[in-house]
Amino acid sequence: MGFEPRIVGFLCNWCSYTGADLAGTSRVKYPHNIRIIRVMCTARIDPTFVLKAMADGADGVLICGCHPGDCHYVEGNFKAMRRYALLKRTLRDFGIDDSRVRLEWVSASEGVRFAEVVKDMTEKIRSLGPNKVKVELATDAVER
């Protein structure tokens, strides 16, 4: 069997989680690789959530929030965007390909777009291959 990426999705409750639900009610198909975790707003996403997911073996992390200007909490998505820029740098410092983590805007009416984002991300992660961080962390622990 080929490599099946495991992707953790952090989706905001108001736009993107609802958009993902809409993909379901509209029966729009997308790859099974994504596992969604709901947060109230992308601004709640502590960069450590993403790092933990990567350390625990996720091959990619997808963060989805409301489009700029449409945030249920006025500007939470802008806060997420700023943290995301820093997070990308941290990932590179750790030697992790920063394209494994992605931020996308998906509104409550964009079920089809959500499915497309998941499809595209799954393919990209598939071509990158497995994330080795978990294995490396385990080896480090043994060597120590």
Binding site: W14, H32, I36, A43, D56
Partner: protein, 570 residues
Amino acid sequence: MSGHRIGVYVCNCGTNIAKTVKVDEVAEAMGKLDEVAIARSYKYMCSNPGQEMIVNDIKELKLDRVVVAACSPRMHEPTFRKALETAGLNPYFVEMANIREQCSWVHDDILEATEKAKALTHAAVARVAYNEPLEKRSVQMSPATLVLGGGIAGMTAALELADSDQTVYLIERKDVLGGNVARVDLTAPYLDSARDILSELITKTTRHSKINVMLGTELVHMGGFIGNFVCKVKDAEGDETELSVGSVVVCTGYKEFDASRIKQYGYGKFPDVITSFELETMIRKGRITKKDGTLPKYVSIIHCVGSRSEEFNTYCSRVCCMTALKYAHEIKSAIPSAYVDDLYIDMHAFGKGCEDFYRKSSEVKTMFLMYKKNSTPQVKLADPKKDDCSMLITVQEQLSGEEIEIPADLIVLMVGMEPREDSTDVAHLVNISRDKDGWFIESHPKLDPVATTTDGVFIAGACSSPKDIPDSVAQARAASARILARISMGEIWTDAVYAEIDEELCSGCRMCNDLCPYTAIEFDEEKKRSHVISAVCKACGACVAACPSGAIKARHFTDEQIYAQIEGVL
């Protein structure tokens, strides 16, 4: 973490889940997890027997946490929270795994979908162990309501509330009440006069002692939360007034499609190509004529102008078909010698009395011609020497399968409905969402059509999708009923989810103070610590992720809960 007794319930949702997810296998796998005392699958967990199963298990097996793997929590979380309350457990001790909308409905492969369902349910089991008992907040419900928009929906909502002796502020941007219905002569399909319907409503509204009608006024700011909104409105002179209300009903209506966007019809170029609203104006004045004052011999009515089209709006505007038939009647009665052609894509006669009305229209000798979706009829000027009409319309007629040319002196374009240009501003002001076309989104399209994602803010009428008068009126009354039910409670319970600051851990750096979009965080100068005003907090969690001391807790979305979920899904 030890000693929990978790019950896991995997819903089949008939075949909705069970068709793609092996529900028994999921239940069996969950049954093997630590702390899981019982794991079952059942046909419909949300049904009464399903809920009773949970309640009985909680009592008999002494469960202290529950996981329901079923539909989206946006659908049935309230249902299962209530079931837990019935069994005497804190309602926040239930966790849902979304294995329908985000699993069985979007995947085809049974093996993969089953594995994913296990992972999602496992994550819920891991998370629920960290769920804390939360107490809901009680807030006072202000009995006053702000209604945005003085059209038929707005006035109906205002009157319903005011007749129950509650204060209403009805604000309208224009300096008259009536909205779009005021532009109409007769209504389809019973041909009652719109003027009669409206004038009675307007009189009642303006004379009602409990309704404060504010014309030429718009909303400029809304703050607060359900039961306690503070709305700032501004009149034409620029004077601002602050209104304290418990609820808001948005009834801002629609605007008509701009017909000049469709080049083939020549609207704006040919003087006798007019919109349905321009025909209404003529009918109200009592004379249907061409621009030059003469009577038209051939009148053509074109349906779906801007609606049901790939290029413009894909949706159906719902009222135009019956309005077009109404015009056939009105034109025939004003000019009995006129020939009326009706160019349609499909005749949508879905409402009460509409199919009968359609049949009657055929009997008044209207020529119905069917054109194909996305193949727009083409209007051109006729040759005055050769033709006895001023324009010609080329149509790919579907029933005959032929391209035909029909004469026209007056062409009526049935312009569809569109969201108003200011719908983005309104959505931002009252914190509600819009769909891909720009219409306001309801909390649930079928089960909660007048509520929105912001508690206490309701939508009614054509601001959420094209609607006729009866549907708009029904929605306005529904929104009012929802509001009156809450007013009668005096105080209401709102979600227990908000942020909390541990004063022991807070370093007083004040970083969170400015981050909060609702200024819900206050700084205590004496203690040099920040604290959250829970009633104002809306639980976004921006401060939680930002706090360098880890002193802020997002209730029900704690780091521990999310960490457990991450471990669970992987």
